[in-house]
Amino acid sequence: MKTASSEGLVACVRCTRAWPAPEQHCLLCGKALHPRKPHSLQATWAFLITAVVCYFPANFLPIMHTTRLGQVQDNTILGGVLVLWEYGAYPTALVIFVASVIIPVAKILALVWLSWSAAHSEEVPADRHGLLFNTVELVGSWSMVDVFVVALLVALVRFSGILTIAPGGAALAFCGMVIFTMLAARAFDPRLLWDKAT
């Protein structure tokens, strides 16, 4: 099969223009040109491990403290979903459950699988793996929903003495987890999958 690298060309990852390989920087937008991102897998693993480290405080610490008539109640992410489900707010509960529980875990697992198969697999179904990577990039920011909800509720709910909501430690950890998985996806070079295409 004829590919850019077999023709001695390198594509710019920013402006998509292809240049002859000796070129070091894109003449159009100035980005450094690499046939494959340098240390791509190493950087991806580093960001992924950081994301996993953030995952534990994000799920076990309270994401917000609700103070109702002097009584403090701590809510975790999963607890918040269960409360919504009990109130009968099924669509909202589902949105939060998908955005803050399923997507982050699925994203981390998908990137682990992609990095592992880019490094160790003999043959990779590049089309399906490419689709998976595109999906990971597409849903990247949607897990931030819960962090923004906490920020909104903190600003909205200030009935002093009756009901106040304060942000908990999990909010920052969760935010960190989302950002680090986004950085991991950015560090990963999907062209590594093409090298092992069947």
Binding site: C29, G30, A99, M144, F148, A151, L153, L156
Partner: protein
């Protein structure tokens, strides 16, 4: 409350780092994106020959990743649903402006054709 308060109120609870991140994702990045897009489009329409076009297009590329205004829109709906059982909410006029702004931003970002954008800039600056 205004939408900006949701980022600023985090500072009242000593969550400064989170406040900065939220402020960047829902306010600074969308604002910068809007300004960058307007300037670029205007320059391309007027066929302005300027060296500044390339840095602007690079900035646009970076901002597309970190603009999370559409995620914030969903968060507004979710928090409204969460609060509806506890208190009565009245929507201000900014809410409708915000929804319109978000939808327009979303569509305009989708419509940017990277290849065509850079090709036009190339033609103008060489």
């Amino acid at each position: 409350m205004t939408l900006l308060d949701s980022a600023l109120s985090l500072f009242d609870y000593q969550q400064d780092l989170l406040g900065i991140v939220v402020f960047t994702l829902i306010f600074a990045a969308p604002l910068a994106l809007l300004c960058t897009q307007c300037t670029l489009l205007f320059a391309l329409l007027r066929r302005t020959h300027s060296r500044g076009l390339r840095p602007l297009a690079r900035l646009l590329h970076a901002l597309k990743t970190w603009n999370m205004i559409e995620v914030f829109l969903i968060s507004v709906f979710v928090s409204a649903a969460k609060l509806a059982s506890m208190a009565q909410l009245e929507l201000g006029i900014a809410f409708f402006a915000f929804v319109a702004f978000t939808l327009c931003t979303l569509i305009s970002v989708q419509l940017v054709d990277t290849v065509q954008l850079w090709r036009r800039i190339d033609r103008l600056t060489t």
